[in-house]
Symmetry: C2
Subunit: 297 residues, 2 copies
């Protein structure tokens, strides 16, 4: 397995990866590169047994065999260009980005040559920063692996094994399929959450402190999703904007129909709609993907 | 304080009230009336020290001094008519309904005479049924109390004290203000969640099992809200349909603007929007109304 791992972009996800690499493999050395302020000081304080590197230009001295890119997705092109400069087959590159087609396009457009197995471990919390990462974030979650046309079976298997060593399940998918699925299960929920909070902000003056006080009736759940890292999400929205736009329109149509049934006081139809949705929740709970919410903690 | 309490509609909320009434007051006897199948058997099994009554027509034998209505809101009119038959000032009636203006209207329209202090304890989980109630549901949450024009100060104070004895904070509000605030903090989030899940159901065939597997990226949070009791929510939507419709339109406008910024790849504006929303989340956490989410439990 991998001996020297470089994590580029060492925020909540990056540091959770470092924390989750199993102890038996801790002889593997982890390096981290991050542009944020006071990074090396903060890294030291976190006491993670991870070495910071100052520049991406000199990582080759370190015999890295796995690079994991964990920055917002619109920073990838610059980073991958630097990696490609070494024109070297001694390391594999993977990532954690929430969009995959745009990343694949960058690779082909630039005619990159390094071994690249794009990935997306589906796990996250609304807090960002290396201090908020934790061991266990990935446990029992899925990592989607999206090999390129020229990826070798061996490399795919190595990256799969890496995610499984963090207690994840893996699933192979094309970048296109990934973006299609995630636009529904992640990107649309986020654009909705942000828009609801923006609606609430507009109404807030007339509500005074009441918005926060009485948020436990549902609103607070949306603020959690809408509390996610702004730069990361701006990049995701821009990178998958076509799929997101299509789905947003479909969702608006559904909402208008609902509102119309309300207008017509169509009691039977409404009840039927509300009953349908419960079934999906039950399946998510059964698949152990629901997480746990403690309402009054 | 109250000696004999009757809870009408003994589901998740009703049973959580029974569980949360402090022990020092357990000399107070709790009665429950519920139309659901096998109710008395299920109540017995739950071992709550609550007596079931068979019919609302004979509760007067029991010297009840507090009635708490906990049914879906469109059942109120029939129930309150039965209560009014006794034309009696010996008990106070309160409730837990998520809409308040329609309930006030029912009271005035029918020229009811009993002492009525409508309330709404803002607390809930997505599970329903008496078996899912628990001690602690109300802890540190707000209960909104919406007195009628003719409510006496003494009655208002008694009902306030009752909610506080369940470890709640209370706030007095008009029914109109209540419905205005809750349409934003609760009703709109619910109609959005249901509509998102309905959108997902339409897409599901093309996604096979992927919707459930990869729900941890945001979608699962919506299924929790959309997993709430269908009858209860149909009634809320119908009872506050005007406010909800207005807000839904406002929200659709916000979503369209967002989608438009995406279309124009308006990167700066997008980032600015996403940064704005984080602030509200922080305030909810500070006010201890956020609950706690364990992502991988």
């Amino acid at each position: 397995m991998f001996k020297n791992i470089l994590i580029i972009g060492f925020g909540m996800i990056g540091s959770s990866i470092a924390r989750s690499i199993p102890k038996s493999r801790k002889q593997a050395h982890i390096y981290a590169f991050d542009k944020s302020k006071d990074f090396s000081k903060r890294l030291k304080k976190a006491n993670l047994n991870v070495s910071s590197i100052k520049s991406l230009d000199d990582f080759k001295k370190l015999s890295i065999d796995l690079i994991i890119v964990c920055t917002p997705v619109l920073q990838y092109e610059n980073i991958l260009k630097k990696i490609n400069k070494f024109n070297d087959q001694s390391f594999i590159v993977t990532d954690v980005g929430s969009t995959k087609k745009n990343i694949e396009d960058i690779y082909y457009k630039n005619n990159f040559k390094f071994r690249f197995i794009p990935s997306h471990p589906i796990a996250g919390i609304e807090k960002s920063g290396l201090e908020n990462g934790f061991l266990g974030l990935f446990e029992n979650r899925y990592s989607i692996v999206c090999p390129l046309k020229n990826s070798s079976k061996k490399d795919i298997s190595l990256v799969n094994k890496f995610w499984r060593s963090l207690s994840m399940k893996t699933e192979i998918m094309t970048a296109k399929d990934h973006d299609h699925v995630l636009s529904l299960t992640s990107h649309l929920p986020h654009i909705i959450s942000y828009s609801l909070v923006l609606t609430a902000i507009k109404k807030e003056k007339s509500l005074n402190s009441k918005l926060v006080k009485f948020s436990a009736g549902g609103f607070r759940d949306f603020t959690r999703v809408a509390g996610s890292d702004p730069e990361m999400w701006r990049d995701i929205f821009l990178a998958n904007s076509k799929e997101i736009k299509k789905l947003t329109n479909m969702f608006i149509g559904e909402l208008k129909k609902f509102s119309n049934d309300l207008n017509l006081h169509n009691s039977k139809k409404l009840l039927n709609k509300l009953q349908k949705t419960k079934n999906i929740r039950n399946r998510i709970v059964k698949a152990k993907q629901a997480g746990k919410f403690i309402p009054n903690d």
